[in-house]
């Protein structure tokens, strides 16, 4: 006995365009659409493009060329207006900040993502009473204006002197006393990062199949083992999103650094602070400002361009 072969379920593509067939058929309207999209691209990129151009211009080229024009003379061809001096100076002045930012952002990001994942699992995938208030407190933490904690925060790190507490550490090779400032920042960023990482992980964990987790319980796995063997491996994509998001947040922060750092060079200032201070010299150069801005932005730009897709997904959730 034979039966007709079972056709596999076709992959149903959702095609919005079906609903707007007119657009597909009418070439001109399609062109208008793309033209609009490109114009918007210009709007979003123009400031960045012009800033880059400014950053590679000599002062005189800056005064004589249009902001968004490259510093290249066509008649006669010359690169006279081109210079990387601003970049050299910017990198020189910001390199310690970049280093500090890395030392700060990487651990803070990993810590807050991990803790966020822990917490989200603990209140989402394990059933117990009264978890709602806890969840609400976690989530409300996202929306707290940081101004509301600044004064206590600065008082706190004045009272809790990590530098003295960790004094033995500074004697070790490669350690500096001012790392205590970075440690303070790591703690703060971790704590304030938890709510958002919690939310990201929670929305992800809520959508994990309940039945799958129950299956694991029936398979004899403990709460810990379920996390370790099922939830954690499945969280990889969400960790990517969270890490990207949190990294940019920490990297870009200025406020906490202003408040928590005691201030002063070598005190572990992250790159945003260093960039703010870039204008300290007498000669104000837009080229230097823009070059500095880009030097400081490069890591997050790279992260975005490389992982924009996941990021968009995470942001949307």
């Amino acid at each position: 006995m034979s039966s007709p072969p079972a056709t596999p379920e076709p992959e149903q593509r959702t095609r919005r365009e079906r609903a707007t067939t007119a657009f597909r058929n009418a070439g001109p309207r399609r062109l208008v659409l793309y033209a609009t999209l490109l114009a918007i691209v210009a709007f979003y990129l123009a400031p960045l493009e012009a800033a880059i151009m400014t950053a590679i211009k000599t002062n005189s080229a800056f005064n004589t060329t249009l902001p968004f024009a490259p510093p290249i003379e066509l008649f006669p061809p010359s690169l006279e207006g081109f210079t990387l001096e601003a970049w050299r100076v910017a990198i020189n002045k910001l390199s310690h900040g970049i280093l500090n930012s890395l030392m700060l952002a990487v651990p803070a990001t990993i810590l807050s993502a991990t803790l966020g994942s822990f917490a989200a699992y603990g209140v989402t995938n394990v059933e117990w009473k009264y978890q709602m208030p806890i969840i609400a407190l976690f989530i409300a933490g996202i929306f707290i204006p940081y101004q509301a904690v600044l004064v206590p925060l600065s008082r706190l790190f004045a009272i809790v002197d990590t530098q003295s507490l960790l004094a033995p550490l500074w004697g070790l090779p490669l350690m500096h006393a001012h790392y205590s400032n970075i440690i303070n920042l790591i703690i703060a960023h971790t704590a304030y990062g938890i709510p958002i990482t919690f939310l990201l992980f929670r929305s992800y964990y809520r959508n994990l199949s309940e039945e799958m987790l129950e299956a694991a319980r029936l398979d004899g796995a403990s709460v810990f083992s379920i996390y370790r063997n099922i939830v954690l491996p499945l969280s990889k994509p969400m960790f990517a999103v969270t890490l990207i998001y949190q990294f940019t947040q920490v990297w870009n922060d200025l406020l906490f650094a202003l408040v928590i750092l005691p201030g002063g060079a070598g005190a572990g200032e992250p790159v945003t602070v260093a960039l703010t201070n870039l204008s300290g010299g007498i000669i104000q150069s837009f080229g230097l400002q823009m070059a500095g801005a880009f030097v400081a932005a490069i890591p997050t730009l790279i992260v975005y361009i490389a992982f924009g897709e996941q990021f968009a997904k995470g942001v949307a959730s």
Partner: protein, 387 residues
């Protein structure tokens, strides 16, 4: 392995202070090795019952016993029960091999070798040994279903619980897996509780079926018994497709009087009714006979409303020939169904006589719904021409 007993098991949920009773005082005794099917309409508490057995839901009242142990308070982890979920609930990041090993690793102290061997044996038995290195995402629905089963089987549990395991498969595959599953359970002889709301699965798969409605157990019986000897109106209406025809009647002496017709009863039947006044008469569509005459006992003149040809048989919707009825206004409530062989040609509007043989009728107390009398059965007929 052991027999599983639900002893007055009740489950209520808190809903903002209100109590929602999902399962209400259910008693079932499931024999060692028995295949019990739990059926009922959506929301009747099937899944909840199953989940209480598994330990995924606490028992509000009553006992769940495995053998002599009350297992109410045991966490699922230690119950030695395996469950197959509707969604299969395979671990998507693990290979089939890992999916199947996971339970053994977590719940037993077996060596890796032993586990690997057992997984391999089971996979072979299930015909999925060549899929062991794939991940669930790379499997078809049927294959996933088989892996889910394999994952349960490999643990060699005391009890299998299955919650609509076939409902995600397409019709053809479902009927194939149905037979396979049934055969497998017979071979393994593991006590099994199987939840479904699919008629066919309920009727064909179980040793016995337990029919739930609104959290209350309606009947536990073999499929045939449930079909032919329903305990009450609900079971009678729920089991069978098309449903049994019901007519609400008043008893007047030895005659039942309904809106459309009168039905005389023999003394024997009258005895069974006792002194119930309002009874519901039920007759299965295949027991309604279409005859040419129309003047015999228990024969009624009817008009064909709609014919649904099903190929092998036709469902004929009949209307009592009250004469002069506006045909357009004929609501659903006035028709009843007869199933006739697919080759008989019957057309809309045709007048036919329907015979409702007394031997085939069911009678229910309209108030309580309880069965007063079920059809007479003679199951001794030998294999004979089937139509």
């Amino acid at each position: 392995m052991a027999n599983l007993t639900l002893d007055g098991v009740t489950k209520w949920f808190d809903d903002d202070g209100d109590r929602i009773v999902a399962v209400d005082d259910v008693h079932v005794d499931i024999e060692d090795g028995e295949f019990l099917v739990l059926v009922g309409p959506s929301g009747c508490g099937k899944s909840t019952t199953l989940r209480m057995i598994a330990g995924l839901e606490t028992v509000s009242q009553g006992d769940v016993r495995l053998g002599d142990r009350v297992i109410n308070d045991q966490p699922p982890t230690v119950r030695d029960i395996a469950m197959v979920f509707q969604s299969y609930a395979l671990y998507p990041h693990m290979t089939v091999q890992e999916n199947m090993s996971f339970g053994l690793e977590e719940s037993t102290g077996l060596s890796d070798d032993t586990i690997a061997r057992r997984v391999e044996e089971t996979a072979e038995m299930m015909g999925i040994d060549d899929l062991l290195d794939r991940k669930p995402g790379e499997l078809s629905g049927g294959q996933q279903q088989r892996v889910a089963l394999g994952r349960a089987i490999v643990r060699d549990p005391d009890v299998f619980l299955m919650d609509e395991p076939l409902s995600n498969l397409d019709a053809k595959l479902r009927s194939q897996m149905r037979t396979e599953l049934q055969r497998l359970q017979e071979d393994l002889g593991v006590t099994t509780v199987y939840v479904t709301h699919d008629q066919t699965e309920a009727m064909t798969m179980g040793d016995r079926i337990a029919i739930l409605n609104d959290g209350k157990l309606q009947q536990v019986a073999t499929p045939i018994e449930a079909y032919h000897r329903p305990a009450n109106l609900f079971v009678a209406g729920f089991i069978g497709e098309p449903s049994m025809n019901f007519f609400e009647m008043e008893r007047e002496g030895d005659v039942l009087v309904g809106d459309d017709f009168e039905y005389s009863l023999t003394a024997e039947t009258l005895d069974e009714i006792g002194d119930t006044e309002r009874v519901t008469l039920g007759i299965r569509p295949e027991d309604v006979e279409l005859v040419s005459g129309g003047e015999g006992a228990h024969e009624f003149r009817t008009v064909v409303d709609v014919v649904e040809p099903m190929g092998n048989e036709n469902n004929v919707y009949l209307r009592f020939d009250a004469g002069g009825d506006d045909p357009q206004m004929t609501g659903d409530e006035r028709t009843f169904v007869a199933t006739v062989g697919g080759l008989q040609s019957i057309e809309d509007g045709q007048e036919v006589a329907a015979r409702i043989p007394e031997s085939a009728i069911h009678l229910f107390d309209t108030e309580t719904g309880l069965a007063l009398r079920n059809r007479t059965l003679d199951l001794s007929e030998a294999p004979v021409p089937n139509r």
